[in-house]
């Protein structure tokens, strides 16, 4: 049954690409939307205990080992939700017809790939799905075929290629040691032959591959360009789930399930995480482009997730997973707002904007909520995950990192307020006097995501513990 998560989108993709394309072009939007929605609802129901989430069935189909646990469910949920949002946003950006058909097809491919990442239980299928997602992401980034988009996609391809080399090398080395690919077998083999330099090199290469995919400093060079140059719905998708799945989720999965925690690995994760947190936050301050600012903020937030993972305690992993989910929500929300602004004003330069909260009340309010959530203001969702991270750091005696995390959280608040003030507060300039609120689909997206971030924050103490604590 789990394999349906992978096969259904693929089959739908194939059917869509059969003849009768003129018919298919009309229903493609609805089909994509409903697929994503169904997945999100199913998984959400699973979170509330509908499924027996602890069963790990192994299917022989396609010789892939797949299985599900809480972490996979979280990614499946994010994937469903963000793809749904992306589809809705794309309605305003991608014109109906051939373009939207192609866009939806690519998105469905990527959607299937992310589901595959979530469910994969062996290293090689994980790698394959990562490549599926990456390749569809390249094309999505340069979907508009303008110069900036090609440049952004090109940088992403180059660095992804390097990451691929790292990963393949690492997989080859691991295969040498273990002779098998499934997580359990590799785990057992690594436990027996731990700390040989070959294994350590393999682990290092794998980590670096994920760092590149996730955009951890100093492997982050491609991220800001790719996020900024992509068209608005693609930005939402990239920031919300794509890079998170191929980079962060895969990193968590491999470290937790395969490599296991080891002091040197933890130190690398902690250091890289803290570096990302600080560099990302500081770099944000002088950006003038709305989306570029959000991109650097993403680097900083990914840093938090990696930092939390490096703590290597159950609480730390739980905090990492929770922040992963929260980041998908509020960063998608901010990119949706960026899309709304771009359509309404035609610019993303923050210095040219101002006072838009009066003209675009929903965008202004939801953006404020997202900013506060990302900055960790109670009772929004972001507060709880940051709190968990800092508590986990403190309780495992990483006082320096706890201090860095707390201070960087101040920086986060600083740059988010800067963004909010420049764009939404103050008085409206003359050139913006006729601005109106965005279209209904954008409004719905913003409201859904804002409701999730507020709801999760308010309900966190009651419900989400159950999901996250493994």
């Amino acid at each position: 049954m789990l394999s349906f998560f992978i096969t259904t989108p693929l089959i739908v993709l194939m059917i869509l690409n059969l003849p009768f394309r003129s018919l298919m072009k009309r229903i493609v939007f609805v089909v994509g939307l409903s697929l994503a929605l169904i997945q999100a609802v199913l998984v959400a129901l699973a979170i509330f205990g509908f499924w027996d989430i602890y069963s790990i069935p192994v299917s022989p189909m396609l010789r892939f080992n797949i299985g599900v646990d809480n972490l996979s469910l979280l990614l499946l949920l994010c994937n469903g939700m963000v793809v749904f949002i992306t589809m809705l946003v794309s309605r305003s950006f991608i014109e109906e017809g051939e373009k939207r058909f192609n866009f939806t097809s690519l998105l469905l491919l990527s959607f299937a790939g992310v589901n595959g990442i979530a469910l994969a239980r062996d290293i090689f299928s994980l790698y394959v799905f990562i490549e599926v997602v990456s390749i569809s992401s390249f094309i999505l980034i340069c979907f508009n075929k303008d110069r900036d988009a090609f440049e952004g996609a090109f940088k992403y391809i180059i660095l992804s290629a390097i990451a691929t080399i790292f990963m393949l090398t690492s997989i080859a080395l691991i295969f040498l040691v273990s002779g098998d690919m499934s997580f359990e077998a590799v785990r057992a083999a690594l436990d027996n032959s731990a700390h040989t330099s070959l294994v350590l090199m393999a682990i290092g290469l794998f980590l670096c591959g994920f760092f590149i995919k996730a955009g951890v400093v100093p492997f982050h060079g491609w991220l800001a360009d790719a996020y900024t140059s992509a068209s608005a719905p693609v930005s939402v998708y990239l920031a919300g789930v794509s890079t998170k799945a191929v980079g962060v989720y895969a990193l968590i999965r491999i470290v937790v399930t395969v490599f296991g925690f080891d002091t040197p690995i933890n130190k690398v994760l902690l250091f890289a995480g803290a570096l990302s947190v600080v560099v990302g936050a500081i770099a944000t301050l002088t950006q003038t482009d709305f989306k570029r600012m959000l991109a650097y903020s993403s680097i900083s937030q990914i840093g938090y997730i990696v930092l939390a993972l490096g703590i290597a305690t159950p609480l730390g992993i739980a905090a990492a997973a929770f922040h992963f989910f929260n980041h998908a929500v509020f960063k998608s929300l901010l990119f949706v707002n960026a899309a709304t602004l771009e359509i309404a004003t035609g610019t993303r330069e923050m210095d040219k904007l101002g006072g838009l909260a009066q003209r675009m009340p929903v965008t202004g309010v939801t953006s404020a909520l997202a900013c506060l959530s990302i900055a960790g203001v109670p009772p929004l969702a972001g507060f709880w995950s940051k709190l968990l991270i800092i508590i986990a750091l403190w309780s495992s005696a990483h006082y320096n990192y706890a201090l860095i995390a707390a201070l960087a959280s101040l920086l986060t608040l600083g740059y988010m307020l800067l963004l909010q003030r420049k764009v939404f507060f103050g008085s409206v300039g003359d050139h913006l006097a006729r601005i109106k609120e965005g279209e209904w689909n954008l409004i719905i997206c913003a409201i859904i995501l804002a409701a999730v971030t507020v709801g999760v924050g308010v309900l966190f103490p009651f419900n989400l513990c159950k999901l996250i604590i493994r």
Binding site: L159, G221, K267, L411
Partner: protein
Amino acid sequence: MNILLLPILIPFIAGLLILTISSRARFIKELITLFATFTCVIISFSLFKKEAVFALPGIGFGIEFNLRLEHLSSFILSASTAISFLIALYCVSFLRSKPYAKQFYSYLLITLSFVSGAVLSDNLIFMLFFWEGLLLTLYGLIAIGSKDAYHTAIKAFVICAVTDLCMMLGIGLTGYLAGTLNISQISLDLSPLATTAFILLVIGAISKASSMPFHSWVPDAAVDAPLPFMAFLPAAIEKLLGIYFLSRICLDMFNLMPESSLSIMLMVIGGITIILAVMMALIQKDYKRLLSYHAISQVGYMILGIGTALPIGIVGGIFHMLNNAMYKCCLFLTGGSVEKQAGTTDLEKLGGLMRKMPITFGCFVIAAVSISGVPPFNGFFSKELIYDAALERGWAFYLVALLGSFFTAVSFLKLGHAAFLGKLRDEYRNVKESGWLMLAPMAVLALLCVIFGVFNAYPINNLIQPILGERAVGHSFSGFPTNFTLVLFTLIVLAAAIISHLIGVKATGSGVRAVNYIHYAPVLSKIYELAERKFFDPYEIGLKLLSALARILYAIDRLIDWVYEKLSINIVFGLSRQLRYWHNGDYTLYVAWSLGGMFLVIIFLMARG
């Protein structure tokens, strides 16, 4: 109701009542004031030389509402109520056309209430309550004087509040040491901690009596505040209260020994106050301001007397306090009389008023010779007692006191000459004598000066000597001084003062400039100039220090602000700009970073492995 509560409650209620009455109903307010003060006079005289105790259940921590009437307090109570009544009588005429009459009457009555409370309280906490309450009316009475008087009022308030704070600490320390806050039960030896408490309490007491260095608001108030205020508080009531508490401290609460360093400290304060204040008085060109410096100078005699810790000195100090209340009050009232009739108190303009205002002049002469210490007026007898005590403790103190006497006499010769003798200016042709309401209090006070001088045996033996209790047994302080050498010196000094005045007048041809040879003496002229510019005023110095401190704190504050607002922001934004500069969009650079990062990670892992 206990009779001890009446001197506190009657004026207080009357004072509040006056505030509620329309300011046009002048007659009613005057009537209420006179009635209330007169009732207090009758009550306090009926209580005179009696002993009584009144206690309410305490509120814990040794704070009990205890009133206690005994010899000294009944004597101070009678004196203050009597002076209040005389001032009230004087005010009926003096304040007739003044807009602030309503407030003045009200504050006067409330002041009287607080003074009675402070004098009667046996518990230090309640005494402090009334004592602090006086600050309010002090501020009010000065501030109503003129539009800018609030500057002086704030000055007075600040000085008194600071010293009252010292006193508050002293009271806390005393209560801690003695285990009780009831004055009648406290008796401490001067251990180091008790010495601290003693000094703190003395600061409160002598500041209330406006001794140096807590004096500087008095001359300012003389110019700004209503004149009856000067006659009422600085000249009389505050002296009574301050010296009352000082003698309480020295006689009852602590056992001050004649040879102790604290005694010398008090005598030095007294001596300095005498000489510096009188030197300042000497050069004043304003009737009221000149008197105000004398009001400070005379406190020096009292402190000197009590500070000797000898029975004869204490008797002299307290007797001088009483005498000072009479003649200083009388002098200020003559000043008010001149101000009201002539419209000015500038000595350069006045002159020749003797013919026009004979009764005022008569009162002035009696009070002036009293203050100068001419026999057989009251000032002479109290000063002789103090001289005697001072000589016993050291010739330097005696010399200072004698010198003070000389300058006092000189400055009053100058004042009398400038105001009442000499040529009458044309614009004062039509000046008339004041009304009887103003003359009566002056005349009464002047008469008392004579009576207390000629019949000094009665007040000394009946009023003052019993205060000392067993210490004074076997002594006799009354009658004409027995030490004729001292009297002789006093007379020589007075004669020298007259000669000096005559020389001065001859040299300059004018009464007001008779002391110019002292004023413009080589070194003194510079010092005087600085003093007139308030260079030595402790309040001004304190203000300067405070503003310097404030400037330093401001600078520190700016520095902290700068760290937060400029430095940290600039560092962070500088870093941010640098990061932006590094992210130049060149993908080869990004690839290089990634490869470098990979090498570092792998080297780190393998080195650890």
